[in-house]
Amino acid sequence: MNSFLTDPIGFLILWFYSVLRGWNLPEDLVVLIAFVVGAFTLATLSLLLVVFLIWVERKIGGRVQDRLGPNRVGPFGLIQPVADMLKIFTKEFITPDGADKVAYNLGPILAVGAVIMIWAVVPFGITLYGSNLNVGILYIIAVGGIGTLGIIMAGWGSNNKFALLGAFRAVAQLLSYEVPMVVSLLIPVMFAGSMGLNEIVRAQTVPFIVLAPIAALIFFISSIAENGRAPFDLLEAESEIVAGFNVEYSGLKFGFFFVGDFLHAFTIALLFSVLFLGGWNGPGADSMPILGFVYLMIKTSLMYFLGLLIRFTLPRFRIDQMLALNWKLLVPLSLVTVSLTAIVDKLAMNNIWVRVIVLLLVNLIIWLSLQEIMERVYRSRPPRRTVNYPRLKPEADEPVVQPETPAA
């Protein structure tokens, strides 16, 4: 009883192993079956989470935009995702003429598979993890690359010039924003001394967001750009390129892209919590893994809420603004942050408080110099010409203003 309360998932895993061994199977097969069932369960649970996330997103989005959100179907609109899913399941699959069947059908699978595979290395508690890779962070980056491949195949397999153009722009954005993401991921690796996610969580006696706030900010921004959420959602905007690379998909295949998008948003919040907010750390989480899981979910929900707020308040970037933001701001900033943090960290390793204060000072210096540089760039740009448009019907006492012609 005691072990079931403190560690229900571990209890279930041990019970499952004992059932399998009771069937007198060879040991390798027992381990293989247990891993396959575990992977299947984790993937199913994460996909079921998306159902709840759809409701959360639409309700909170509605409230941010001063409207109610779904409230017809069920109490507080809770059955709305079920209605959405019924609609998506029953739509017809229309395959465009001349589409390459392999690429067209493989695109959505790779796009969703890449996101679910990230969940295999995330530590949910002190003993709750899929697999403890010692190169966990590189694995996450590799899996992100597979998602990019899925988008190209979707865009090319649609046999549609606009889908192809959308796929090109999507891949340009995804490949560009991988660079600051990877460079800023070096900082938790440096602090923890290992690339395994479990070791990074264990090394966070002080959460890494305190030690490296700029790196956390860069990681958050580039993860949102990797996902393709607003304000970086040029890839799938209706008004931009007619929904981009997934214009020829209908029914459940489009539903796959949709699910992958929402799950990726939650996965970003999860990774940020694990890497920078301390993961499952908290009072009492060392002895009771289920408490660690609860702490992680609380932190993830906070970051997910922050992502939703950003999504529903900021307008969309243009493609050239997005790429300029990446190559002119984020990449130099992340490189400078990594080098300075590496130098300072080696010098101030001894006392934890000295380390915190010195690193915060370094980050403050970087931030202030960034502000100064941006201010000078802003001041040196020529001011935009403004035109005074006349009113259609001038008021009684208002003089009619002629539009100023700009100086030749």
């Binding site: 390798d28 390459d100 392999v102 690429a103 890779l133 010692n134 190169v135 590189l138 694995y139 980056i141 590799a142 992100g144 690359g145 597979i146 990019t148 491949l149 190209i152 195949m153 090319w156 192809l164 090109f168 891949v171 490949l175 690339m195």
Partner: protein, 171 residues
């Protein structure tokens, strides 16, 4: 026994995908088969207990090089249009030469007894740390490391310079 069966399956997948790369007619399918064979190579690296290079293979080859190849296939599509002969006229001569080379090397490999050994002790967990220290130690591998970064910089600048279209059509 199960590891041997697994190895045979992965090796078969890798080699068959490699064979499809060099024989299929449509270039896009060749690029997709290349992705599959590179993934098979990554699984082989993982079986050889080199998890670092398995993941780096996926990042560098599949996540960057394969995407670059797919882009090149898409941008140069209109001339070939996947019709006509894909393979040069004297392909049987190349096949004979390659089969002779393969046969010779296999005979060489199987005839030396030291190749039949099994795996020794597994690499320790701290090898990655030692590798990192070796890459920056001045008496070990710091110079190849720096030279390879200069090579990447040269490739970056060179390929941008070659591929950028000059405004106004000047070359």
């Amino acid at each position: 026994m199960p590891m041997q069966i697994f190895f045979l399956i992965i090796a078969a997948v890798t080699l068959i995908s490699a064979a499809m790369v060099v024989t299929v007619r449509r270039m896009m399918h060749a690029a997709l088969w290349l992705v599959l064979s590179l993934f098979g190579v990554a699984v082989l690296f993982a079986m050889l207990e080199s998890s670092f290079y398995a993941v780096v293979q996926v990042i560098v080859y599949i996540g960057a090089i394969a995407i670059l190849v797919i882009f090149a296939v898409m941008l140069t599509r209109h001339m070939m249009d996947d019709t006509g002969r894909q393979i040069a006229k004297n392909w049987w001569a190349a096949l004979v030469a390659v089969v002779i080379a393969f046969g010779g090397m296999v005979v060489l490999v199987l005839s030396w007894s030291r190749f039949q050994v099994g795996p020794g002790t597994a690499p320790s967990e701290l090898l990655l740390l030692d590798f990192g220290k070796a890459l920056t130690a001045p008496n070990q591998f710091a110079i190849p490391f720096e030279v390879s970064s200069v090579l990447l910089l040269a490739a970056l600048i060179g390929s941008i310079f070659i591929a950028v279209e000059r405004k106004g059509g000047q070359k």
